[in-house]
Symmetry: C4
Subunit: 355 residues, 4 copies
Amino acid sequence: MSTPIQYQNLGKSGLRVSNVALGTWITFGSQITEEMAEEILTLAYESGINVFDTAEVYAAGKAEIVLGKILKRKTWRRSSYIITTKIYWGGKAETEKGLNRKHIIEGLRSSLDRLQLDYVDIVFANKSDSLIPTEGKADPFSTTSAASGRIFRVEEIVRAFTYVINQGWAMYWGTSRWSATEIMEAYSVARQFNLIPPIVEQSEYNFFQREKVECQLPELYHKIGLGTMTWSPLACGILTGKYEDGIPVHSRAALKHCSWLKEKILSEDGKRQQQKLRELALIAGRLKCSLAQLAIAWCLKNENVQCVVLGVSNSDQLYQDIQALKVVARISSSITLQIEKILGNAPINGSRIEK
Amino acid sequence: MSTPIQYQNLGKSGLRVSNVALGTWITFGSQITEEMAEEILTLAYESGINVFDTAEVYAAGKAEIVLGKILKRKTWRRSSYIITTKIYWGGKAETEKGLNRKHIIEGLRSSLDRLQLDYVDIVFANKSDSLIPTEGKADPFSTTSAASGRIFRVEEIVRAFTYVINQGWAMYWGTSRWSATEIMEAYSVARQFNLIPPIVEQSEYNFFQREKVECQLPELYHKIGLGTMTWSPLACGILTGKYEDGIPVHSRAALKHCSWLKEKILSEDGKRQQQKLRELALIAGRLKCSLAQLAIAWCLKNENVQCVVLGVSNSDQLYQDIQALKVVARISSSITLQIEKILGNAPINGSRIEK
Amino acid sequence: MSTPIQYQNLGKSGLRVSNVALGTWITFGSQITEEMAEEILTLAYESGINVFDTAEVYAAGKAEIVLGKILKRKTWRRSSYIITTKIYWGGKAETEKGLNRKHIIEGLRSSLDRLQLDYVDIVFANKSDSLIPTEGKADPFSTTSAASGRIFRVEEIVRAFTYVINQGWAMYWGTSRWSATEIMEAYSVARQFNLIPPIVEQSEYNFFQREKVECQLPELYHKIGLGTMTWSPLACGILTGKYEDGIPVHSRAALKHCSWLKEKILSEDGKRQQQKLRELALIAGRLKCSLAQLAIAWCLKNENVQCVVLGVSNSDQLYQDIQALKVVARISSSITLQIEKILGNAPINGSRIEK
Amino acid sequence: MSTPIQYQNLGKSGLRVSNVALGTWITFGSQITEEMAEEILTLAYESGINVFDTAEVYAAGKAEIVLGKILKRKTWRRSSYIITTKIYWGGKAETEKGLNRKHIIEGLRSSLDRLQLDYVDIVFANKSDSLIPTEGKADPFSTTSAASGRIFRVEEIVRAFTYVINQGWAMYWGTSRWSATEIMEAYSVARQFNLIPPIVEQSEYNFFQREKVECQLPELYHKIGLGTMTWSPLACGILTGKYEDGIPVHSRAALKHCSWLKEKILSEDGKRQQQKLRELALIAGRLKCSLAQLAIAWCLKNENVQCVVLGVSNSDQLYQDIQALKVVARISSSITLQIEKILGNAPINGSRIEK
C-alpha cells in the first residue's frame, strides 16, 4: 500500500520511527471495542506506522492488555514495530506509583505481562517525580541539601531505567512531561555515573501549546541528541473545529468527567481560540484538507518533531489523519507565515525550523 | 479501614514506607503460632502498614518461612508491600556467616527460598563486619595497612550488595547497627567504584537510647540521603512500665535466657529508669494513652525517623500500638519539653527536630 | 591429517584463529546444496580451519540456517571452532536494519536462532552507519553538533555490542568495512564509557585493493591491538585468471545480477588488470602453483593479516586453496619484489611487512 | 570431632578458609578409586577442612567429575564448603586453552558441568599467559607496543574473570603461578577499568622453594590484600624422606613419566637436599612428629600463608597430615632458628613472619 508515512531517526538515536505513532489513550480498553482496536492497529501497521504508544495507566492497564492480545493474534515480526509504554501510576498502593526503583521495575514487569511481550522498545517516565522529601525545615548541615535531595532522586531513577534496559526489558528510555532542566539533570547524572541517558521527551504540541517544543527541546536535541515525540496535536479535539458553535451533545467535552474541557472551551480564552480556528479553517480549505489535517500537518512540518502520536476512535479517522501527511508538502513558507499571523503566539526565542 | 498510618520517602530514596513496620523478631516462627502470625500480619496490612521486617537469623530461618507461607496464602499484590531481611548469621559453618561475598549471595538466596519470593525490597547488612584480618604485627610495607585492609573489606561488601541488586534479588540495600563512620566508608567506596550506596540504617531508638539517631543519622540524611528505620521503641518491654514493681513471673525478663534483661532492670541504672518511667506515665495519662503508646509516639515525633519497627505478640497489641500514631499529633512542644526534662539525656550536638 | 594451517592471535586479543577462515557468502543457502556445504565444512574443520564466517544478510538468513543445521549434526565440541556473523541488513522493515540498539540486539538474537547456537564468537557491525541525522540546516546552538551527532550514534552502537557480549551472546565484537577513523571513534567511546572495544576489522584485500590493509590497519594494530581479517582474496574470481579472454558463459560475471562485475572486467582498468594477471601467472608457474593460489598466499604473506576468509563452491576448490598456504613459504623477498613491480600499486605510506 | 583445623580470612577478602585445603591433583580420577576419593573427602570435610581444590586439567577433567559425583551424593550444604578450580588447559583444540575470553568462559562452563555445580568459589588462572603476539619485528609506530600488547591481553583476562563472576559462576578469582609483576598488572587493569581484582595467588612453597612466598607475596598482601594459598608442601614427596637411600621401586619417582623427579633427586643438588632432610628429621624426632608433618607445619607457621593445599592417596595419610597442624604450636623460635640454620636458604629481603 502506497502511503505518505516517512521515517527518521528519533533524535540522534539510531531508532527509525514513522512520523506518526498510534496512541491508545482513552480508546484501547475503554471507548472502543477490541474489534475496532484491531481494525485501527491493522490499518496503522499496514500503512507503515511502526510506533504504538501506550501506558500502564491507560484504562488502568486494559489498554496494554488489548494491545497485547491483538499483537499476539497478528503474525507481524516483533522486530518490525516499536512499542512504547509509560510508568508512573501503576496501582493504588503507596508503593505502586512514582519513580522509585521498586515501582519502575515492578511497573514495567507488569506492563510486559499485560502486553505479553519480552520487552518494550521505549519505556517512558510518565511524569517527573516531585515527591522529593520536603526540606523546608531548618537544615543544620547544608543550605544546598534540597538540590542534593533532587540529585539522589534522579540518580535512583536513572539507575532504575538503566537496570531495566540491562535486563533486556526495554531498548531505550525516555521522559514524558519533564522540564528541560529535569531532563538535563537526568542526562548529567547518567554521565556522572556512566548510566544510560534518555533518548526522547514526549511533550504536548499543537497550535495553542508551543513553548516547550519550539523553545526548549531543539536545544536539547543539539546538545544531548534528545528526540521529540508529541501528543495532542488536536488539543483533545478542540482543533477539529467541532466546538465552533458550542458543545455538541455527543462530543467528548459533553462527558461528565470532561467538564474541565467544556470549561476551557467556553472560557474567554477558548472563544478567542475558536475565532482563530475559523480563520485557520479557511487556509485548510485552500489546501483542500480539513482543519484537523492542517493541525496535524503543521506539527509534522516542525523539523524538530520526529513523531506525532495520534489517537483515533475508528479506522476512518486514522485514514483521514494519515492523509494529513500529504498536506505537509503543501505548506509553503507563505502559508506558514499566514498561520503564524493568525496564531500570533510564536514563542520569543523559539526555534521552529520547518522541514 | 480508616487508619492513622502515614507514608514518607525512606531517606531521600523514592521508596514510600509506612511510618511503622511490622517486625518478626522473637515472634514469627518461635513465640507465636502461625495462626497468630497470620492474624497479626493481616491486621498490619489492612491497617496500611506496608513494611514487614525479618532476618535470616530470626528463629534460625523459621521467621522467614512463616512470613513466606502467610504471604503465599494471601492474595496481596507483591508490589503493594515491602519485605526487608538481614544477612549476617546464616549457619554454623565458618563460611555461612559474616559479610563476605559468598555469604551475602548464598545467604540472600536462602532467605528468598524460605520466603518463597523472587526478591526482597531491602536487604540489610545485619552488623558491620569486624572480621578484618588482624594487622597487629609489624608491617614492613605500610603504616596505613590496617585502614587499607578495611577498605578492601568494605569494597567486597558493597560490590556484593550491588551484585544482588543487579541480579534482581533486592531493590535496595541498607545497614543495620553500623557506625556513622562505617556507613560513610560504604558510601565512599560506592562512589569510588560506581557501585550502589546503601539507602537506610536500622538503629535502636527509644527514651534511653538516643545518641546515634539524634546526633549522627541526621547528618547522614542531609549528606548522603540516608533514611532511618528504628527498632526497640519499647526497649524490650521495659518502656511498657510492666517492670515498675519488679519482674513479673510471665514476663520476658523472667525467662532463663533473658537474664541480661533482668539484670539490667534490677541494676541501679535500671531503677533510675523505672523512676523516670513513672513520671512519663503521668504525661501519658494526661494524653489519654498508655506509657507504651507514648514511647512509640515519641519515636515517631522525631522528624528524622521515617519508620519504627514494632514487634508484637498478638493482634490486640498491634492494634494498641497503631493507636499510638494518633498520639503523635497530641505531643505539643510543651509536652516535648516536659519529656525532655524528665529524661534528662538529650545528647549534646543532638538534632532532634520534631514533626 | 597433516595440514599447512597455522594459528595466531587475532590482533592482540587472546583468540587463536586459523590463518584461513571458511566464508559462506553466496554459497551456503544459495549456490550450493546443503550436502556440498556439509562436505566443504567438514573438510575445512578436519584440515584445521577453525573460523566459520557468515552474516544475517547472506542468502537472507539461509546461510546461517544451513551452517547451523550442519553444526548441529556434527559432534564437534562448540569450544573447538569460532563462529562469526555480521549485523546490519536484517529485514525489510525500517527497524530491522542499521546499527541501532534495537536491530543489533534483535538481529543477533535472530542469527542465533537460525544458527541454533547460544552464542557466536565474534559479532561484526557489517558496515558503518551513515544514517546520522542530517545536520545541514542552521544550528543555532553549536557548530560542532554534526560531530557530536556522530558521537551519540557511536555510543549507542558500542553500548549495544557491549550489551550483547555481557548477555553472553557473543565473545567479542568487530567491525567490517569501517574506516580507520570510525574504528578509532568506537575505541575512544569504549574507553570514555568503560565499554568493550572492537578487536578486529574485516576488510577487502587483494592484489588490486591494498590501501586500507597496508596503510591504516597496521597502525590500529599497534595502537589499539586491532586484528585484521580479510575477504575477497580473489576479487570475486577476477584473480583466478578466468576472465583473461573475456566473460565465459557459466562464470559469475555472466550472471544477470552481476553486470557490475562484467562491466568492471571489460573496462579499461579491467583490461590493464588482466595484463598484470598474465604476468603474475608466470610467477605462479615458476612457484608451481595456480594464480589463485599465489593470490591467496600473497595475502597471507602480509604479517598484519591474521586470517583470510575464503569462499568456495566445492570441496576440491577448498583443498586447492588450502594448498596455497604451502606457497607462502616459497615467496622469497626476490619474488615479492617482482610481484610489487608488476602490480605497481604499492600504497605510499604503506606498511606491508612480510612474514 | 575435635580437630586442629583453624580458619582465617583469605588475604584481606572476607572468605574464611581452613588452613589446609584438600587437593585432587594426580589422585582424584586417576591414581585412586572413587571409593577412596569419597573416604578422603569425607574425612577432610568432617575434620573441618572447607576448601577442595581442583582444575580442569587434572586427569583431563576426571578429577572434577569424581569430585562432583561425591559432592552430589553427600548432603553437605553448598554454603558450608569452598570449591576452587583452575582454567588454562581445557582441550586439544587451539581455542580450548590459554587465557582468552572464549576459553575462560567455555572452560569454566565445562568445569561447572563436570562438577555438577552452579558456581565455584574461586576460579584460578592456572598460569600466566605468555601467548602475547610477538612484536619482535620493526614497529614503525611505537617502541612501547610490546608493553601495550601485554596490557590488551591482561585487560581481556580481567574482563573475562569479572564477567564469569558477574554471571554468578564464581564468587572470586585468583591467579596460580603468576609473577608478582603480572599480578600487579591484573590489579592495576582492574582498577583502571573498574573490574574485579584477584584475591589470591596459588604458589609452590616448601623447605626448598621459598623465594616468591617469602619475598614477594607479603608485599602484595599489604598493598592489594592478596591472599596466599600454597601447594607442594612435600615437594612431590621428596620431603617425606623416602628418597633418603635412593629411589624405591614403588615410589612416584620410579614411574616412567616422572623421570624428571628421579633426575632431580639423584642430582648433586638433590643429594645436598637429602643431607639437609636427614638433619631436619632429627628435629622432627625431637618434636615427636614425622619429617612430612614437620614440613607441613613449617609452611603453616608462616603467617602470610593462609591455606596449604595437601594431596593424599588415602585417608590415613590425610589423618597424619592433619595431625601436623598440632605441631605448629610446638615450633618455638629456637626451633625455627635451627631449621633456618640447616636450610641455609633464607631469601635476602625475605619476610617470613611466624605465627
